[in-house]
């Protein structure tokens, strides 16, 4: 009995430490976003003169003169935010869909085979810097520069392997008998796919989707190189700099704001993380 209490207490302690460890930098970021320019380099956890200037800067950049070194007037953050939303959402949908079908075929029929699957990992193995010049050359020919379609395709192509591998892990764990039973009852292979597999593989879909969404949401290098005027959010945040250094407070504010959408998504998907195993298959 005592053992149980001790173990429980220990687990609670670890959890609390983990939460505190996670939260401290975030709290510091939040306070940074409310600090005035002069306070950015101080260790204080709470701002002495809290200000909304950093946030105002994001939405109505005409508020010049807030920052001493004549910062650049940029477009309000709404534009890049919506652009990034479209890019990330579309890329995620494409990648997850393609990844799902591929994972199913690989898991059940070895089509594509294990070697191909392994090959898709190649897309994640390459340090991105050298890929910049070839991609720029290629996309310029295809008129995909400064074009959200270019980024969507690039992100989908480079993250689909995540979807494949994560989903394959989940699909592998589903007993084949259920599909065979459904097939015997006259369902078409596609119906099996949609009505049997998807509900059970939902956690996989959701986890893979979230990661791919996040990768597209925060990617910077290619977004920078492949766009000029239609910039996504990550590039926009990098532009909050002045003649004497980065506007840390504004960047913190921008990062916090831009993390709200992924945060909401992360919260909503959680009920899908519990699989339908407990529901069991009642038929047959």
């Amino acid at each position: 009995m005592l053992r149980r209490i001790l173990t429980n207490a220990l687990m609670w302690l670890v959890l609390i430490i983990a939460v505190v460890w996670t939260v401290i930098p975030v709290m510091w970021m939040i306070s940074l976003s409310f600090k005035t320019y002069g306070e950015w380099r101080t260790p204080s956890l709470l701002p002495r003169n809290p200000t909304l200037d950093n946030y105002i800067m994001l939405f109505s950049p005409q508020a010049l003169g807030i920052f001493i070194a004549y910062t650049a007037i940029l477009e309000p953050i709404v534009g890049p935010l919506s652009r990034t939303l479209i890019i990330s959402a579309t890329a995620t949908v494409i990648a997850v869909m393609i990844g799902f079908f591929t994972a199913y075929g690989a898991s059940r029929y070895n089509s594509p085979g294990p070697f191909t699957l392994f090959f898709t990992l190649l897309t994640r193995m390459l340090p991105p810097a050298t890929f910049v010049t070839p991609i720029v050359i290629y996309f310029t020919t295809l008129y995909l520069i400064d074009n959200i379609i270019g980024l969507i395709l690039l992100y989908a192509a480079t993250t689909v392997t995540y979807a494949i591998w994560i989903l394959k892990g989940f699909i592998d764990a589903i007993p084949v008998e259920w599909e065979e039973a459904a097939l015997l009852e006259g369902a078409s292979p596609l119906q099996v796919l949609f009505k049997v597999i998807i509900p059970i593989a939902r956690p996989g879909l959701v986890v893979a989707g979230l990661f791919i969404f996040l990768m597209a949401w925060t990617e910077l290098l290619f977004a920078l190189v492949l766009t000029n005027l239609n910039v996504p959010l990550s590039v926009q945040v990098s532009k909050y700099v002045t003649a004497v250094g980065a506007l840390w407070g504004v960047q913190a504010a921008a990062a916090l704001l831009s993390s709200i959408i992924p945060l909401v998504i992360g919260y909503l998907i959680q009920r899908h993380l519990i699989t339908g195993f407990t529901f069991g298959l009642v038929r047959g």
């Binding site: 004549y70 007037i73 059940r108 008129y143 190189v225 005027l229």
Partner: protein
């Protein structure tokens, strides 16, 4: 799950099965076609420009005449309120429009860095008053490496996406050799931006920031000459003067040599003073940070000691030499009297420390002085003094002479893209925005572009405005500093040469490498860079650049036999 490899396994690229091969290639081609179509159909439309159109409250009431005059002087002077340089630019553009070379409503695109946006927008505002037919659009990047990356990208893809690029003079060699920077020597002759005469950009800066291998490739927008910034109150304090004289045997004054800098730095660091915000006061703060600036301090001392970067006959690196060792010697002696963060923090930390009163002697760009006298956070507004950079005592012709030179790192210049649709109009925009009258207004409306024309320092028409922005004492010291300023490594590979040097200097300061190894490593690395691009080509550029160095340095080189 079908343990043995089923017959339907098809490894992607290595299967000899012809069908799979065809599918792979076929899908690549199909996807290429689809991508091309998609991209073409959805490519971003030519933007209607969004120039800033604030209503200008200047006292100009002259209406622009309808008939565009020719650029040669006519009996009736168009735009009498403009300087000659600006007028020639405006008239030149009007002629281009009239001749149909540039259509009305055309857009010029400028690639630039965020920090310069305020000043460029001022330039655009003034431009659109006189030349509303041509719009100017800004493509803004967050940091300088981003501008470099985009410019290089454009050099490779040649899309004509930018007409003008504002770049660091350091990159001029790279961008000329990459084919992006257009040779504008012919425009210099045609439109005369007055690089000679009382209005000229101060020599040698006007030359070395715009010439490459003897031809003009840029107009300078800026100057970035370092001056020695010091705490007047501390150096003039009678108590400290007394103690200093007692300890070191000579009067406390603005240092003339680096050895004197070390003494002053030691003296004040040992006083263990504290700043108003509770930080420690250090005697000195010179750049030794790893991201890019460490090479500045080292090269400054090296050149003043008479060192030459590359042999003028063979392009061999000459950094592993007594002058190179001397430079490290000085820096290492300074190290205990500089804040340890100097070795790891970003360049803005130097600014932060000085304006909060935590360093006594320091050196940086003109923006440091501007910030010190006008930032609300600054505690040193009244007590900032400016002087020439300290020098090195050498024997020239039997006489001991102090050789002084000021670094001019980075320095924004404007280039015209070789792939621009309207190169002449682009050039004229640059000439307009750097004209004696327009240029001063542009510079005074922001921070990162600084004064470069001599008339701004001397001409009573301009000097009061400049003094209001920078402080009169600073102006005089700054003018002298520009006259003895030397260029960055403005040859092909300049950024790489500088970067390798910075890494080595930073390593030595951090204690992870000893000076001897550092110097030989840098020499070897520089040599392989030179080999990469061709010794002769590099030598040609270096020889041309060496001629543009300031007199004191050339004098030292000649005295040491490095230069004939």
């Amino acid at each position: 799950m079908g343990g043995e490899k089923a017959s339907s396994e098809k490894p992607k690229k290595f299967d000899p099965d012809r069908r799979q091969f065809v599918i792979t290639i076929g899908s690549a081609i199909v996807a290429l076609g689809i991508g091309y179509a998609l991209g073409y159909l959805t490519k971003p439309v030519e933007r209607i420009t969004t120039t800033v159109t604030k209503t200008v409250t200047q006292t100009v009431t002259q209406t622009v005449t309808a008939a565009p005059p020719s650029p040669t002087p006519t009996p009736v002077l168009e735009y009498p309120e403009l300087s000659d340089v600006a007028r020639r630019a405006v008239l030149g553009v009007k002629k281009l429009i009239a001749d149909g070379v540039v259509p009305k409503g055309a857009t010029l695109r400028i690639l630039h860095v965020a920090g310069s946006k305020a000043q460029l927008e001022k330039a655009i505002e003034l431009w659109s008053k006189y030349v509303p037919e041509i719009k100017v659009e800004l493509i803004t990047m967050g940091t300088e490496p981003d501008v470099y990356t985009k410019a290089m990208s454009e050099a490779v893809t040649k899309t004509g996406a930018y007409d003008i690029v504002t770049i660091f003079s350091t990159w001029l060699g790279d961008l000329v050799e990459a084919g992006l920077a257009k040779d504008i020597t012919v425009y210099f002759s045609k439109y005369d931006p007055e690089y000679v005469g009382p209005n000229a950009p101060i020599e040698p800066l006007g030359s070395y920031t715009t010439l490459y291998k003897g031809k003009r490739y840029a107009l300078t927008l800026d100057s970035d000459v370092f001056t020695l910034t010091y705490r007047k109150d501390l150096l003039n304090d009678p108590k400290y003067k007394e103690e200093f004289k007692a300890t070191y045997g000579y009067d406390l004054k603005v240092p003339d040599t680096w050895e004197e800098v070390i003494n002053i730095a030691e003296f004040f660091t040992n006083k263990k003073l504290t700043s108003p915000r509770g930080g420690r006061v250090w005697g000195a703060y010179f750049y030794v940070e790893p991201a890019f600036a460490a090479y500045i301090s080292w090269t400054n001392i090296f050149l003043e000691a008479g060192g030459i970067l590359f042999d003028l006959e063979t392009m061999d690196p000459k950094v592993d030499s007594p002058e190179g060792r001397y430079a490290f010697d000085i820096l290492l002696k300074l190290k205990p009297f500089m804040p340890p963060e100097a070795i790891s923090a970003a360049w803005a930390d130097l600014y932060d420390k000085y304006i909060h009163g935590e360093s006594v002697l320091t050196a940086a760009w003109p923006s440091l002085t501007k910030m010190a006298i006008s930032s609300p956070d600054s505690v040193v507004k009244e007590v900032t003094g400016t002087a020439l950079m300290p020098g090195v005592k050498l024997e020239i012709g039997g006489k001991p002479t102090i050789i002084r030179a000021s670094p001019n790192p980075v320095n924004w210049v404007g280039i015209v893209s070789n792939y621009s649709k309207y190169p002449e109009a682009s050039y004229l925009f640059l000439q307009f925005m750097t004209a004696p009258d327009i240029g001063l207004e542009v510079i005074l409306s922001g921070v990162i572009l600084d004064l470069f024309r001599e008339s701004w320092f001397k001409d009573p028409k301009y000097r009061p405005k400049a003094a209001a922005g920078y402080g009169a004492e600073f102006l005089d010291a700054y003018l002298e500093s520009i006259k003895i300023s030397y260029p960055d490594f403005i040859i092909r590979g300049g950024p790489e040469y500088a970067s390798k040097l910075t890494t080595a200097v930073n390593a030595v300061m951090a204690g992870t490498m000893d000076p001897k190894t550092a110097l030989s490593t840098v020499a070897a690395e520089w040599d392989s860079i030179t080999k990469k691009y061709g010794r002769d080509a590099q030598l040609e550029a270096w020889r041309a650049l060496a001629q543009l160095f300031p007199e004191p340095i050339k004098m030292a080189w000649k005295a040491k036999g490095y230069m004939k």
